[in-house]
Amino acid sequence: MSEVIDRPLRDDEKPASSRLRIVDCDVHPSLRSTDDLNEFLPKRWQQHLKEYGSHLRTPYLFTTPYPRSSPLIARRDAWPPTGGVPGSDLAFMQKQHLDPLDVEFGILQVLDLFIFSQQNLEFGAAIQRAINDWQLAFWSHRDPRLKASILVGQDGVDLAIAEIDRCARTGEYIQINVSPRANEPLGRRRYWPIYERAQALDLPLGIHVGGYGGHAPTGGGWPSYYVEEHQSNAHTIAAQLASLVIEGVPERFPKLKIVFIEGGFGWIPSAVWRMDQHFERFRSEVPHLKRKPSEYVRENFWFTTQPIDEPDEARHLRSLIEWVGIDRLLFSSDYPHWDFDDPRFAFKTPLTEAERRKIFSTNARAVYKF
């Protein structure tokens, strides 16, 4: 079991007088075991989980299609001394992450059980309900800095709407999470009732990378390696951005806020340039779009920063941030995963104090109304 090993902060790294407490938009809690869900899961589904388990469109029952680079994709130092898996021990998360990095709010992103990718939609919905309850009972209620999202599987639209309404009544959840890899692209009309509800409730739609919708991770087929699959996460997010914009979701739901989580942001400028470049050419196919794609992206979408790009030249990162627009970026760490971004060191280019405030705090506070 490892202790937190870190050097003391230098003075210039300390928030000091203008103390900047951060909002971390991507913190991963984990179940100690699926037994944690028993109190929230009806007997019928507990039994189903035991007998049949997850039914995913992937080849293995008990692991991911591509062996990951570290156990449970975690930082090697993130295993709690209590013996659980990384992200399963609140006290250790507080000690290792929330307290030393001065996290004012951390947004929980649950990936356990591949809850979005369950082929049995009723089972998926039962697990989502249980996890939504578990987030409050095990995390938010024990540490109010940690904010829960309403997890729903968009392929069962009616089940999703019912769960959104059930959770929204508590007033305790700060966004609605759907999957970036489902049966169909997110812009397709079958999913629109979810967006209508999100807009009506004024809850942002959160989309965290991951999951297995059955489609190959790339348009060229199934890669051989995790190093390829990892990079395909950004492709998925770019494809979903295009789907939502081009199908007209922000045109139809202009107040809907959409947050892409863990897609990084390096790909955004060229994706937007490409959409705009070909907009005139394809305009007759999409007359429902009243404005250029870039305008929707600037108004309706936000992007979390991890994994941050590391160009050889710091000035290139600077240009990238300017192209994307500082107002669109929300800091995220991805704690406790291996590709974690440390808020003190992740941005290897100078930012002004005002810019830091936006990226590390005020942008997220505005989106989530903290």
Partner: protein, 354 residues
Amino acid sequence: MAATRIDCDIHPAVGGTRTTLLPYLSGHWKEQVVSRAIDGLDLTSYPPSMPLAGRADWRPSNGARPGSDLAMVQKGAFDQLGSSHAILNVLYGAQAVFDAYMAADFCKAINDWIAAEWLSRDPRLRASIVVPMQDPDLAIEEIERRANDNRFVSILVLAQGETLLGRRHFWPVYRLAEKYKLPLAIHAGTQYRQAPSSAGWPSHRYEYYFVEAQAFQAQILSLIYEGVFGKFPNLKVVLMESGVSWLPAFMWRANKTWRGVRVEVPWVEREPAAIIRDNFRVTMQPFDAPTDAKSVEEIIDQIGSEKMFLFASDYPHWQFDGDDPIPPNLPKSIIDKMCVDNPLETFPRLSLAN
């Protein structure tokens, strides 16, 4: 004739299987095509009437497919756009056929047709070899058949096939490509074997065209991480109609991910971006540029290579208006190299006597 401007990507159109290709098919397939009325293999990627598929002034007035008439292509690609030479890339469904024997005979017919009716009629033209990647053995036969004809300067494959291009079953193709100095030209287009992204099947062509850029990115990663360039260090890969402006951020992300996970692919000993700069080339239409000159300059600076860029019009596809296919705001040093030097370096057979 000295080359002053080499257009690395123009598209002649196959009018139809039962018309254009029939004389070039083998006896068996000639009979099959007629008796079973096999035709209409135009790729779903490019509906001929879609605005992108043909600029208005490059469409034959009789309604025939843009790019189907040699005289019109000569007028547009050479007289109007000012090229001295051009490389023909045929986009037709032979590459998407499920029956590998049929695919092989159709590919052979396309290449014979190109040689007889295009290359032999205009010495300024060169072509890519269309191959049946459905079965690498048959692709190899077709490459061997063209190897002595220096007018064929590259091997054409679609960006989205049955499997990613780095996979080992394709390596015999790359062995020949390296041997005969034929770059692998990956062109936008799909066999429709799988959704164009992990998000699933989109509704619109616009969206499909947008995500095709990602297929190129996946192919780059596949070719690098499977170890193709360790085995075939001299192989060049040309990305055609892929878009360009995504390259910098893609290379940063590839480098970062490789640094984190390289233990998985220990045979890849250099940063992906370095391999990309050495072994990959890209045609310059479309560029998908930002609108201001400073950002364009910055993109070029971020890519960090003058050698990668190849002049191309993508004729008759409608990527730009007017008579100048060079994207606005490119630095002069890039324009100087991309029109002649880089194409000659990328396609060594351009310099060989016919």
